[in-house]
């Protein structure tokens, strides 16, 4: 029993590492993606749309396997969690891009027009007028998606990454009752996802723009 919990807690570290890494990747990719999808010209919108369709249309597990086996990239082979971070980050970038786009679109047109009429520049309009209003909504949505992302880190066990589900599986193969091992891992997953759900709802209630809901 102690072996099981020791393993699960060790695995939790890797689970959280992949999670944070994938969030960083998806933010780095999601910001330009939202810009592409909000562009005036059709060409960047087409590219953005294709990117989102690929990220969302291919199951996360297929992304992980493709990145790990497909890109014969040294660091991925040496450190498989990196492959999981990149793959899950690509998938999540589509959702982050949408969240940023929806957040910006949720700010009433009048706010953009008023900023323009007052003679504010692009950076000031974005930084001082639009983002302060749009940010809580974006953050709430991105937090909600990060719950799905956290659960998807379990898929990394398929390419042999020793995260939490991997340790539960190992414990079962050395004789632990599968119900005990997997339920124990499940309890730890819930201990992470349920508070995140509350956090997302709490941020949402904080947002200034009530119209969106």
């Amino acid at each position: 029993m102690t072996g099981l919990w020791d393993g699960l807690l060790l695995g939790l570290g890797t689970t959280l590492l992949i999670w944070v890494g994938a969030i960083v990747v998806s933010l780095v990719l999601g910001v330009p993606l939202s810009a592409l999808r909000r562009a005036e010209h059709w060409a960047p919108r087409l590219i953005g749309g294709a990117w989102a369709a690929l990220a969302r249309g291919i199951p996360p597990i297929v992304w992980i396997i493709l990145v790990f086996y497909g890109l014969k990239f040294g660091p991925f082979q040496a450190f498989p969690p990196l492959a999981a971070m990149v793959a899950l980050g690509v998938v999540n970038s589509a959702y982050v891009g949408d969240a940023i786009r929806a957040g910006l679109d949720s700010v009433p047109r009048g706010q953009w027009e008023a900023a323009k009429a007052t003679g504010l520049g692009g950076v000031v309009t974005m930084g001082r007028v639009i983002l302060p209003q749009a940010f809580p909504i974006m953050l709430a949505t991105i937090t909600a998606y990060s719950i799905t992302l956290l659960k998807n880190t379990a898929l990394a066990s398929i390419i042999g990454v020793s995260e939490m589900l991997y340790y539960a599986y190992q414990a079962v193969s050395t004789g632990t009752n599968p119900l005990v091992a997997f339920l124990a891992a499940g309890v730890i997953y819930l201990a992470c996802t349920v508070p995140l759900g509350f956090l997302a709802r709490w941020i949402e209630t904080r947002s200034v723009i009530a119209v969106v809901r």
Partner: protein, 234 residues
């Protein structure tokens, strides 16, 4: 032109796997949607002894990674009653699908206009008649688009069956790839097939959303939008 022949051959080789994936999806949806509807119906009750256990179950199966639920059913229940892989997937993903869709049905049922329920009571309909002739038509109209969203999630989730050794689309891409010593092309073709089915389903989803908006008129439009948001958040 050789590459076209090559591509067609690879696609043909993976079609049986795609068929298994579609069967798994159908099984999970057929098990999960009625569960979700019943949960959504039960959550309308004021009685805590009914709602709290259901909320608990929904939170559990929404919070567990789907792969963990699959292992729990496949390895965990094996001690009581040996299940084959297909049945395990249907049970496991039926539970997750039920948990995800319960929220859709809860909101859809709650969005039935009060006046219609009162009218049904005034006409002296039994609660079963009220469910069948007032609530269900309303729910079936506005819940279709988010339910298609759930079908998409189930279809993508069916790839996890590979982890317990099933020869669905991902599993057959692996075995075909090992056979031909070309893993990556097979995986890319499988990814393309997943993408094609997903895009077809999301096309249906937007058509259904437009239809729901047209039929339901002004009232439930906002409800449909919210439902779509819950479905994608799931």
């Amino acid at each position: 032109m050789d590459w076209i022949v090559d591509l067609v051959e690879r696609v043909m080789g993976l079609l049986p796997g795609l068929w298994v994936s579609l069967q798994l999806t159908a099984g999970a949806v057929a098990a999960g949607i009625p569960l979700g509807f019943l949960a959504g119906l039960a959550l309308q009750r004021r009685n805590r002894w009914i709602t709290w256990p259901i909320i608990g179950l929904v939170e559990i199966f929404r919070g567990f990674p789907a792969l963990l639920t699959l292992y729990l059913v496949y390895f965990g229940l094996a001690g009581f009653y040996p299940l084959d892989a297909f049945t395990s997937v249907v049970i496991a993903f039926g539970l997750t699908t039920g948990a995800y869709s319960s929220e859709i049905f809860r909101t859809a049922i709650a969005s039935v206009p009060r006046g219609q329920l009162e009218a049904a009571d005034a006409l002296g309909l039994t609660s079963w008649q009220r469910l069948r002739t007032v609530v269900l038509p309303h729910v079936l109209t506005i819940a279709v688009p988010p339910v298609i969203g759930i079908v998409i999630i189930s279809f993508q989730g069916s790839a996890l069956a590979y982890a317990i050794g099933m020869k669905e689309l991902l599993g057959s891409a692996f075995s075909q790839g090992m056979l031909n010593f070309t893993l990556i092309p097979e995986l890319l073709v499988a990814a393309g097939l997943y993408l094609a089915v997903t895009l077809a389903l999301s096309g249906m989803e937007s058509l259904a959303a437009r239809r729901a908006r047209r039929i339901a008129g002004r009232g439930p439009v906002a409800a449909t939008k919210n439902l779509a948001a819950t479905a994608t958040a799931a």
